[in-house]
């Protein structure tokens, strides 16, 4: 294995095997190092993905017995599902709403935390908490706090005069869905803010300071100088957020799980209703495939329209 170290030390970045004949040999030497990763990814990510796609064309009983091919039955059952259009609309509102609001607030927060002020480290540490804490736990405490009877947040809103009397935020589909969106923004802020903060750190200090000094047109300076330089960080933050928010289960599960019907469901929570309540693994698989295609399409459209990687 030590033979590779004999290549010329002049080469700066990485070593390339000399000549075509040793290509397969090089690949063979790489395998012991990469093999475990490949096995794990193949076995636990790509195989179940393929298995799920295959299952979506099979007819499974509730007990998991395979009753043979089903053609497109599972997909047609999805199309005939009466609440489907509502669920799809919810999904769009959920993803677009949460991601846009998260990114906008995070841009402000990152800009703020990039400046020096006493206690900044503590504020940064405080912002980290919702990131480290389990989303289920964060959501559960908000759910409790918003209870119309014993909820402490509801009582607080009444005490400061924001509400006349406690409001059942989590009792009906629409307010519960909006509440869940608020929580989703809250738990997405730390990661997004930190990514944008990391992006700001890559901008040379003199550029940032010049932009800050320019008091009069500071918004224009920000928009013309800082924002374009933030583009790569913004792209990463947005894409990871789209993936996370789209796949988010616990928030809606806790906040709207007890509301009957599908008015507060996204495609992701619907998958879990199919699996857990009805044991419809085949239909759930079909919906998962659709779900994945939607995520993929959204990201491609985002990359196409916003062109986050454009250098300018």
């Amino acid at each position: 294995m030590t033979t590779q170290t004999e290549t010329r030390p002049v080469r700066r970045h990485s070593r390339r095997p000399r000549g075509g004949s040793s290509r397969w040999g090089t690949l063979g030497r790489a395998l012991p190092w990469l093999g475990p990763t490949l096995v794990l990814i193949a076995g636990v990510v790509f195989f179940p993905a393929g298995y799920m796609a295959w299952t979506s064309f099979r007819d499974l009983s509730q007990f998991g017995v395979d009753n043979g091919p089903a053609g497109l039955d599972n997909y047609t059952r999805l199309l005939e599902f009466t609440a489907l259009s509502r669920v799809l609309t919810n999904t769009v509102v959920w993803v677009v709403g949460v991601v846009v609001v998260t990114v906008l607030i995070s841009l402000g927060l990152a800009q703020f935390l990039d400046k020096a002020f006493p206690g900044r480290r503590l504020v940064r540490l405080a912002i980290i908490i919702p990131w480290a804490a389990s989303v289920v736990m964060t959501t559960t405490v908000v759910y409790y706090g918003l209870d119309p009877f014993y909820g402490i947040i509801n009582a607080f809103f009444v005490d400061i005069g924001l509400l006349d009397r406690p409001y059942g935020f989590t009792r009906n589909a629409v307010p519960a869905f909006l509440t869940a969106m608020g929580i989703a923004v809250f738990v997405s802020l730390p990661f997004t803010t930190y990514t944008l903060l990391a992006g700001l750190q890559t901008i040379p200090t003199d550029v940032r300071e010049a932009a800050q000094m320019d008091g009069a047109g500071s918004w224009a300076t920000y928009r013309r100088i800082i924002l374009p330089l933030l583009r790569p960080a913004l792209a990463v933050a947005t894409i990871i957020n789209i993936i996370n928010v789209f796949n988010s289960l616990p928030i809606l599960q806790v906040i709207t799980g007890s509301i009957p019907g599908y008015n507060a469901d996204t495609t992701t929570t619907l998958i879990f209703k199919f699996i857990r309540a009805d044991r419809q693994i085949d239909t759930a698989s079909a919906l998962s495939v659709v779900n994945f295609l939607i995520v993929l399409a959204v990201i491609l459209v985002y990359l196409r329209v916003v062109r986050p990687m454009r250098e300018d």
Binding site: P118, L125, V141, P232, I281, S288, V295
Partner: protein
């Protein structure tokens, strides 16, 4: 995504562009205003967890009282003892489950990702970029999307509802971040160092252990903590794959205390505090490196 290898700015001093400028006159006042604003922001982020902490000391009767009290009339630290033996869920088992799954998955990620990150950062070989892209793609697939497939696969293999299944799921889905962040740290180390060690007759594994590892340690720690916290908080796959109450992690067990009609909120919050405090401490430890890591692994 621009998936090129870049060197991380691992130097925390570069990141803390802090307090360098003198505060005088209106700038001093602005700093005070900013500190106040910072305090308000911090409070907003801490508030839910404060509600949690205070609630965990209330009695069952008081936490369901209408209208609610802000502070407990009677502080009950005994909740933290009683919550371990309730009819709702076998909490000691849930804690053990969470620890076993998170620790094993983290170790597995480290054992699998470190060699891959090292090799891809050090050597060019056919398929190197394909491999790195493949790893990146797994970042897009989450256990939530694949839950149906994973469930069916584990049933077929006969390991559904086992720790092993969840260890595999957690490690596979956290591999991507670990490989990428360690890759960028390995890539930042001058190659000459390896070569010198090789000339001295060290084997590749010895070089990795004695020379390279100490230098990439910050990256490794970040990867470990990040993976550990993600495994600790995992919810969706556990919900589908782990059906026996004893096997479920804290994140799933917690939901058992919330009933349709009667909820033991004081225990929900007690369990949450126990679940949150250790990971917040871990995360706070890598707070500075988090910015460096995100810059290295993602932004560039």
């Amino acid at each position: 995504m621009a998936a090129t290898t870049t060197s991380p700015s691992a130097d925390p001093a570069v990141l803390q562009v802090d307090g360098g400028r003198p505060a005088r006159g209106s700038r001093g006042r602005r700093r005070v205003l900013m500190a106040v604003a910072g305090g308000v922001i911090a409070l907003v982020f801490v508030l839910p967890y404060l509600v949690m902490l205070i609630g965990s000391f209330k009695s069952r009767a008081e936490i369901l009282q209408v209208p609610p009290t802000y502070l407990p009339q009677e502080w009950l630290p005994s909740n933290y003892v009683d919550m371990w033996s309730t009819p709702e869920t076998p909490l000691p088992y849930n804690l053990v489950s969470t620890i076993v799954i998170s620790v094993c998955a983290t170790l597995l990620v480290l054992a699998v990702a470190a060699p891959a990150a090292y090799y891809t950062a050090r050597f060019r070989f056919p398929g190197r970029l394909v491999f790195l892209l493949l790893v990146l793609v797994t970042q897009m697939l989450q256990p939530t999307v694949l839950a149906a497939g994973l469930f069916r696969q584990f049933v077929t293999l006969g390991i559904n509802d086992t720790w092993l299944a969840m260890i595999l799921v957690n490690s596979a889905f956290n591999l991507s971040f670990a490989v990428w962040i360690m890759h960028s740290f390995f890539a930042a180390i001058p190659r000459e160092l390896d070569e010198a060690a090789a000339l001295d007759g060290a084997s590749r594994l010895q070089i990795l252990r004695r020379v390279t590892m100490p230098l990439v340690w910050p990256g490794v720690v970040t990867a470990i903590i990040f993976t550990f916290v993600a495994c600790w908080n995992e919810f969706a796959a556990s919900l589908v794959i782990l059906t026996t109450a004893e096997n479920q992690p804290l994140s799933v067990a917690l939901t058992k205390f919330v009933g349709q009609y009667e909820s033991a909120w004081q225990y929900v919050f007690g369990v949450s505090i126990v679940g949150i405090v250790p990971v917040v401490i871990l995360f706070a430890l890598i707070e500075k490196r988090l910015v460096a890591g995100l810059t290295a692994g993602a932004v560039k």
